[in-house]
Amino acid sequence: MFGDYSLGDLGSIFVMQGFAGLILFSVYVLMALGLAIIFGQMGVINMAHGEFMILGAYVTWMTSNLFQAYMPGLFGGYFFLAMILAFLASGALGMLVEWVLIRHLYKRPLDTLLATWGLSLMLQQAYRSVFGAREVGVELPQWMLGSLQVTSSIEVPINGVFVMCLTVLITIVVAYVMFKSRWGRQVRAVVQNRIMAGAVGINTEKVDRYTFGLGCGIAGVAGSAFTMIGSTGPTSGQLYIVDTFLVVVFGGAASLLGTIASAFSISQTQSTLEFFMSGSMAKVLTLLAVVGILMLRPQGLFALKVRK
């Protein structure tokens, strides 16, 4: 298949293809981080994760409309504000959901699956009633469109670079919060032993609520960022949920490092295979590989050792 091309051409394509893999990697990490926190730290299977992402996307859409209507001069920078608003909106909704629904189900982890699935249906219908059944188009500022010309034949999409930077930033923040801050220590203590954590004076209910809120908030930011590369509609969240769970489960439920490693291996396999065969076949082979590895290592790539 490469016979007709010059070495220079091939080189550029491989660079761009490598970059495509890195973008896919960042997308996977970004969408899986929120779920990894909630699933990993709290054991809650949040089927409504995609809908929290789409809330972020809708917030972005509304912000962009507001800026266009009232502050067209500042339109170039609206995206940063939109991401913060998306974080707050999804995070707040997440905390509300935790308070109303999830906290009653901590002792029945399988029921959270059903409850959050119901929640996802309700949210989808709510979006449909409020924003309409059709997809909305989120207009981006001019500087985020198009690609960077690295050399004469290598082009790198700007939105891809943006997602990568955002992913790195959010991962660092999450890692810091989880492993260096006082609050993160409390979260980890609750995960390891809820009763003892309570006994030493940690308000476990509050920790739960904020953890759930943080996970949902990150989903909101991811949704906001994905308006650059994907669609925004009532059911768009469904497009992400399967891949998200795949990444989290493959990585090992309770490990952030595992999530990153799993996102990396899945995205690289996927994008390399996609280049050599059709997209559907690539997906099938990737899933097969994941299933095979999970059969050998049911706990995922990285498992936290917890005394049960």
Partner: protein, 419 residues
């Protein structure tokens, strides 16, 4: 039937009266036939459909919820508009159309179940409905078993024909061949890259397109790629497009994937003003979600664009916007859905009856001169003769008409040499 069950309760006198009336059945119809040229119900409805002296009931069966609601909302709106207009113009055979709307909920078994409910319980005279091929395939055995009439609006892959279905959208050869011919001639295109979503319609359409490119246009297909429905990452295939440098990218990606595909194409630096792209799956409806700036310059090949400049369309577009809001857009399928109730009305009037068998037999040759797309006529195979058009997407999300076939294109659901 109430006469039967109540007989025992009637006074002997009334019973005698009734028996006397039964002896002259024509007289019992008198009060109704005295109304302006409304034919008697018993004459126009011999199979027990939901037809009264003043009303006839039809069903609307689309997804108002679930994934497909994005696409099917426009069809529902168009069908309701058509029904309202027909009623305002006096209805069908003197009867107002009443509709019962059912929600297929983007779930194919639900479609079949609701179709059965409409036909068996509600006895609707016709169903305007379905959108995806999967939903049509689920409903088809039901309408055939209970002898219903389905008006199906979507452009689709062909390879189907039923006495009980009128296909108001284009089948694949109608839609694709004229577009490929045009772009081959206009752009001197020789190499094509196909990319589609992975299900029956894109695969069948691309099969037809490939045969046409290879056998008729003497060109070459340099890539044919499929992605699962809902896929959101297209960077790898975009790199492949960059590597193969095709003269034309030919796409039938659908749904949410569409948005991702065009956004990433634009981000990857592929300028659609310089790289010809021909799509058969993007209508004005989809551009709403994709964003005009991401797809401007692309060519779409179908039978209707909102911007068409003809008297019918100039009346249709404002009427649609008046009913459904200034911001709504009208895509190819929406227009085809609008044809459904009108074609049914015209056929009923031609047949002089609501009976499904008579309508099925009377359908071929029925013409609708008021169609927003211009003029359509039903073919013997229950598809429509229609023109095929190529439009170029503009920044504002509308298409600019670039080319249209001189004559109506014959529908050919079982194309020889293309299977």
């Amino acid at each position: 039937m109430s006469d039967e069950t109540n007989k025992g309760l009637l006074s002997p006198l009334r019973r005698k009266l009734l028996m006397g009336m039964a002896a002259v059945p024509a007289i019992t119809m008198l009060p109704r036939t005295s109304f302006a040229q409304t034919p008697a119900t018993s004459a126009v409805n011999t199979t027990g459909l939901a037809v009264t002296d003043t009303e006839v009931t039809v069903g609307i069966l689309h997804s108002a919820t679930g994934t497909m609601a994005i696409s099917e909302t426009g069809s529902i709106e168009a069908e309701k508009l058509a029904i309202e207009q027909i009623n305002a113009a006096g209805g069908v055979l003197g009867r107002k159309i009443k509709f019962i709307q059912e929600d297929g909920a983007s779930d194919w078994p639900t479609f079949a179940e609701k179709a059965k409910k409409l036909l068996v319980n509600d006895k609707v005279a016709a169903i305007m409905g379905c959108w995806t091929s999967a939903s049509r395939k689920a409903v088809l055995p039901v309408v055939e078993q209970y002898n219903g009439m389905l008006y199906y609006p979507t452009f689709y892959e062909g390879l189907e024909q039923s006495k009980n279905v009128i296909y108001t959208g284009q089948e694949a050869t109608q839609q694709i061949l004229a577009g490929l011919n045009w772009i081959a001639k206009e752009k001197g295109a020789k190499t094509f890259f196909f990319i589609g979503s992975d299900y029956i319609w894109p695969r069948t359409s691309n099969k037809i397109a490939r045969k046409h490119v290879e056998n008729v246009l003497k060109g070459k297909v340099v890539g044919e790629e499929y992605y699962p429905l809902g896929n959101t990452q297209f960077n790898s295939v975009i790199n492949k497009i960059k590597l193969t440098k095709p003269d034309v990218i030919f796409t039938d990606v659908v749904g949410g994937s569409n948005v991702a595909f065009y956004k990433q194409l634009k981000a990857a630096g592929i300028d659609l003003a310089k790289q010809p792209l021909l799509t058969i799956s993007v209508t004005e409806d989809e551009i709403d979600g994709i964003g005009g700036e991401n797809i401007a310059g692309a060519y779409a090949c179908m039978k209707y664009f909102q911007s068409l400049d003809n008297p019918n369309n100039k009346a249709f577009v404002p009427a649609f916007k008046k009913m459904w809001g200034e911001k709504t857009v009208i895509g190819d399928v929406t227009q085809a859905a609008y044809l459904g109730p009108w074609l049914w009305k015209l056929t009923v009037e031609k047949a002089g009856s609501f009976d499904v068998d008579k309508i099925a037999a009377a359908s071929p040759g029925v013409e609708f001169k008021g169609a927003p797309e211009g003029y359509v006529r039903i073919h013997e195979n229950h598809h429509l003769w229609s023109k095929t058009r190529v439009g170029r997407a503009k920044l504002d999300g509308q298409f600019e008409l670039i080319y249209e076939t001189a004559d109506l294109v014959e529908p050919d659901p079982f194309p020889k040499g293309y299977q």
